[in-house]
């Protein structure tokens, strides 16, 4: 099984594209995960840049439905998926539906997404995310039952926050196992009962949170290895503030987002892909291992 690691563009928007891509390549990522632009010229520019750096692409379909009602969301789904497809993504990560849409409305969106994805020949995963149809562990089960083809992006940090727990109750652990059976992509972010992202996963006070997430991810990777999946994708996905806690008044983030993801990349490569991964440059590994907290 080939494990392929993606860098989120989220939080790096301030960088010129060429600078971002050079950083991604130098850091040892295999690709980029980012929101697909509605602008065709911008998509073409990114596509050429990524191809020239041999970076793979996962497209996030996020704008469809942003701040809109069900009717607009459904109407725009196909357009946004087609836009993503022009960038030849390995996968599309869809932020689908709303927690407050009815089961029937969310189901219509899932059905449309599946139809378009299959027609375009690109695998689509639905992200486990607060505010979406996937927002809560138990709320997801009826959709899994109704849609045997439904595939997920596992981001359990959101469920930690929504359930205000580490999902250890038997009923919630069952939901996690069901989701693991449908997950084809992993967002490796560490959440906790009081928020979707710990301040710094390297800090000892978050050992339990990190350990629990690693146990889920271990199982997910092991399942795909056992199934003979050809290529499994992981995006270390610590986000910028306000996901990343920041100090009051100055809004200084309490850690460096880039460093957090580089550390997670190094951890996961050493854990899951010591024998097959394109290894990280030595200086990145050292830096990730020894990086101090940004705020004492």
């Amino acid at each position: 099984m080939q494990l392929v690691f993606f860098c989120p563009h989220w939080g790096q928007e301030h960088l010129q594209p060429a600078e971002f891509v050079a950083r991604v390549q130098a850091a040892g990522y295999d690709g980029v995960e980012m929101v697909v632009s509605p602008n065709p010229a911008e998509r073409a520019r990114w596509q050429r840049l990524l191809a020239d750096h041999h970076l793979l692409f996962i497209g996030q379909v996020l704008e469809a439905g942003r701040g809109k009602g069900f009717t607009e969301h459904l109407a725009e789904t196909e357009l946004y998926l087609r836009n993503a497809t022009t960038m030849q993504p390995l996968k599309i990560n869809s932020f689908t539906g709303r927690d407050y849409f009815s089961f029937e409305q969310n189901s219509a969106l899932i059905r449309r997404t599946t139809e378009v994805g299959q027609a375009l020949g690109v695998p689509v995963v639905h992200e486990i995310h607060r505010g979406r149809f996937t927002y809560s562990a138990p709320a997801l089960l009826p959709y899994l039952a109704a849609f045997p083809d439904l595939r997920l992006n596992a981001d359990f940090s959101h469920w930690c926050c929504v359930s205000e727990s580490y999902l250890q109750a038997p009923e919630l652990a069952h939901c996690v196992r069901q989701a693991l059976g449908r997950a084809d992509h992993l967002h490796a972010r560490v959440g906790h009962p009081q928020g979707p992202q710990v301040s710094d996963p390297r800090a000892p006070e978050w050992d339990e949170a990190l350990g629990i997430h690693l146990a889920w991810w271990d199982e997910l990777v092991a399942r795909h290895r056992a199934q003979g999946t050809a290529c499994f994708t992981i995006t270390p996905e610590f986000g910028p503030a306000p996901y990343l806690p920041a100090l009051p008044h100055t809004q200084q983030p309490v850690a460096d987002q880039w460093e957090l993801n580089a550390w997670m990349l190094a951890l996961l490569k050493s854990r899951y892909a010591p024998e097959t991964a394109v290894p990280l440059p030595a200086e990145i590994v050292k830096k990730a291992e020894s990086a101090p907290l940004a705020f004492p």
Binding site: Q2, Q25, D52, H54, L90, G121, C231, E275, T276, V278
Partner: protein, 273 residues
């Protein structure tokens, strides 16, 4: 018997590649496509390419008298410019469409072709990166490597360090005994998976990026390993100023001294699709 270009199969586009295969290429830096040519198509083109390669080969030294590079193969380049029948092969839309699909572009240009005939007893081709030679502003480049005879691992099967394309240029080396030792260590120390097909039929093809580190073992059989290669670059690529002598040589020979910044579109670099 004379073979005229128009008597040869046209090699029009065939079925498109699956998304899975395209993504495999981009992830690993190489892929294998089976049956790109049918046995009948191979049978038509093989004698033409053999004839042209024999006619234009300039290597006269016996194997023992050659350096590492010279022992690796007989290398005859841009046969398409010398022979209208080979031109039909090299400018075939079938190959170019596969190349464009793998690179993710609408069209590709020819960089050059290379007949690589590894003689019985011919030596290994050490690990190297083709892109090293190319003064281009893009690394979105690809080589089709097609045997014209059935081959197995003992006949000098092209061998890849999977995923090695992602690191860009590794050393500033042309193929030599020195580069062999350094690349060997690099590939080993970085734990790249080393991948090769066990067998290829005539008309199968492998594809690799310019930066994919690759090598070929020696030919331990008693049969000539006849391979035809075509190197393509993504349309829209531009020339950059050569960084070293090898690039100067390529700049002169394959890009006709186009100025830096110009489209890589000399008379020798036609669009194919």
């Amino acid at each position: 018997m004379t073979i005229y270009p128009e008597d040869l199969p046209a090699l029009a586009e065939s079925k498109r590649l699956s998304t899975t295969q395209i993504q495999e290429f981009r992830t690993l830096g190489h892929t294998l496509t089976r049956g790109v040519l049918s046995p009948a198509e191979v049978a038509a083109y093989r004698p033409v390419i053999e004839q042209a390669a024999e006619c234009y080969n300039t290597e006269a030294r016996p194997l023992a008298a050659r350096d590492t590079y010279g022992k690796a193969f007989l290398q005859i380049m841009n046969l398409w410019r010398a022979d209208e029948r080979v031109r039909r092969f090299v400018l075939a839309r079938r190959f170019a469409q596969l190349a464009a699909d793998l690179l993710g572009v609408e069209n590709v240009r020819i960089y050059h072709d290379q007949a690589l005939f590894k003689e019985p007893g011919g030596g290994p081709t050490p690990w190297h990166q083709d892109q090293h030679y190319w003064p281009l502003d893009t690394t979105n480049t690809i080589t089709m490597w097609m045997p014209l005879v059935d081959i197995d691992a003992d006949m000098g099967m092209l061998t890849f360090a999977s995923g090695s394309h992602r690191r860009g240029a590794v050393f500033d080396h042309e193929i030599s005994d020195t580069s062999a030792a350094e690349f060997d260590r690099y590939v080993r120390e970085n734990d790249f998976p080393v991948t090769r097909a066990a067998t290829m039929r005539a008309g199968d093809a492998t594809w690799h990026y310019g930066f994919t580190i690759h090598q070929a073992p020696g030919n331990q059989s008693t049969q000539m390993r006849e391979v035809m290669t075509i190197i393509y670059l993504a349309d829209g690529a531009r020339v950059v100023a050569p960084h070293h002598q090898a690039q100067h040589n390529d700049h002169a020979r394959w890009l006709q001294h186009l100025p830096a910044g110009a489209l890589a579109a000399s008379e020798l670099n036609p669009l194919v699709l």
